[in-house]
């Protein structure tokens, strides 16, 4: 995946505190992890990639396709970006069954599901082990099943890129380990590149072939896996240095 991003965004919260995000990196990595403590700007960057937050200036390009470019006046709406996003709380539609959730992106207002779409939905339900709960509603299934539903829903439309916002934070530890592996295997199977936001070092080391480290709305360092894994210590040192004068 050719990923180029350079965006700035200034936010002022209710108490008048200013936060400036300046995100800039380029990578060929297929598994990108945005790493850093809460409030460091990684989720904001993810939202900008998905098109849910409009940066003040800059550009976002994926495989040469421009999603956003303030100078050229390009800003594709989320629906045209072909990017899947898994929310931290999954945001499954509570008024729809698991099957309807998975089919959401394939259905349009003026168009019913075709036989191909039905086959695709059933295939995903099967793949994510959801066939048994396909007619249940999100509130009736376990946390792990909810996460699988969110994944299946995001994958249904075959996105170019999958964004995951702390996807395991709502799960307890044993389940978290299992879902981590499941998700990783599925993404490999579909060869979908991913951008994952986390503040969990294990998760970062597990997924990343490239790590972008955030602190105070800026990128302090970038680590790439050169065959021997990510150097987690160096990532930690970078964060420690960035926050050394904060405490």
């Amino acid at each position: 995946m050719g990923f180029e991003l350079d965006i700035t965004k200034e936010l002022v919260d209710r108490r008048g505190a200013r936060f400036t995000l300046h995100s800039r990196f380029a990578t060929e990595g297929e598994r990108l992890v945005l790493f850093g403590p809460s409030g460091s700007g990684k989720t904001l960057t993810l939202r900008a990639i998905a098109g849910l937050m409009r940066p003040d200036a800059g550009y976002i390009r994926i495989n040469g396709r421009t999603l956003f470019d303030s100078e050229r006046g390009v800003n594709l709406p989320p629906r045209e970006r072909r990017i899947g996003l898994i929310f931290q709380d999954y945001a499954l539609f509570p008024h729809m069954s698991v099957r309807e959730n998975v089919a959401f992106g394939l259905k349009r207002l003026w168009r019913r599901l075709g036989p191909q779409d039905h086959a695709r939905v059933e295939e995903l339900l099967e793949l994510f082990g959801l066939a048994g709960v396909a007619d249940s509603h999100p509130g009736e299934i376990s946390g792990g099943q909810q996460q699988r539903t969110a994944m299946a829903r995001g994958m249904a439309a075959n996105p170019d890129l999958m964004l995951l916002d702390e996807p395991f934070s709502a799960l307890d530890l044993p389940l978290r380990m299992r879902m981590r592996q499941e998700l990783s295997d599925t993404m490999r199977q579909y060869r979908t590149p991913l951008v994952l936001v986390t503040h969990d070092a294990d998760e970062m080391a597990y997924f990343a072939d490239t790590v972008v480290v955030y602190a105070h709305g800026r990128i302090t360092t970038m680590e790439e896996d050169n065959g021997s894994g990510i150097d987690v210590d160096r990532v930690h040192r970078a964060i420690k240095d960035a926050y050394a004068d904060a405490v």
Binding site: A50, G51, L52, P77, P78, R79, R81, I83, G84, L85, F87, D89, A91, F93, P94, H95, F104, G105, R108, L109, R153, G154, A156, A157
Partner: protein
């Protein structure tokens, strides 16, 4: 006797149901549309617009009726135009009664719809957007179904309010038996004319319908 029953009783009831039904429908469409605009977008004057749209809830119906007269009366700003260009006059017609009932019941739909739409988590709507849905689709497939219960509750209340509408209707449509005399106006006339047993029956019908609506509303709003 049958004829009397029909004139005194059935006619006002049917007229009331027709007026209240149409007014509720109009209030539903306008109320949800206004609620959507105010819940979705921030613009200068948003709070002022909200206040104006809520005004019919707090103003005396007779005052509202007077405003409507000024607007759609024969020499009213809008009424004159309607009369000259379309040959329509709403004064002293049942359509005028619909308009009065719509204005009076509109805030009930608007207020509850706005609260319900603002209560729909932004993430649901954003999730729909990343899944390829346009704004109309987000509204119809996600926001509206999730806000439906609140909107329905407001609509029921609006219907009940329209059923009982008196003041504004009297100002705009008058109290013409068989033409614009709704149940609540019929009660007034019956009491004025000393027809106590007719008044009793009319009051009973209104009460039953209103209680039925309240029960239905609480059923709709209660969590499953």
């Amino acid at each position: 006797m049958n004829l009397l029953l029909e004139a005194n009783f059935l006619q006002p009831l049917l007229l009331t149901l027709r007026v209240a039904g149409l007014a509720t429908l109009a209030a539903l469409v306008c109320g949800v549309a206004a609620a959507y605009v105010l819940a979705r977008w921030r613009f200068p004057g948003r709070d002022a617009l909200d206040a104006v749209l809520t005004l019919p809830l707090v103003m005396p119906p007779t005052v509202l009726g007077y405003y409507l007269l000024v607007l759609i009366g024969r020499r009213g700003v809008f009424g004159q135009w309607l009369n000259e260009h379309l040959g329509i006059s709403l004064m002293f017609t049942w359509q005028g009664a619909v308009l009065a009932a719509t204005v009076v019941s509109f805030p009930l739909v608007f207020k509850s719809a706005r609260a319900a739409l603002e209560g729909v988590g932004a993430n649901y709507e954003n999730a729909a957007r990343t899944l390829g849905a346009g704004e109309l689709e987000v509204f119809l497939r996600v926001s509206l179904p999730l806000a439906l219960r609140g909107i329905l509750a407001g609509t029921m209340l609006a219907f009940a309010r329209a059923m009982g509408e008196f003041g504004a209707t009297l100002m705009v449509a008058g109290n013409l038996p068989g033409r614009t005399q709704t149940l609540s106006l019929a009660v007034y006339s019956a009491v004025q004319a000393g027809q106590d047993s007719l008044a009793n029956w009319l009051v009973l019908v209104i009460s039953v319908v209103c209680v039925a609506i309240l029960v239905l509303t609480s059923k709709c709003v209660a969590p499953k």
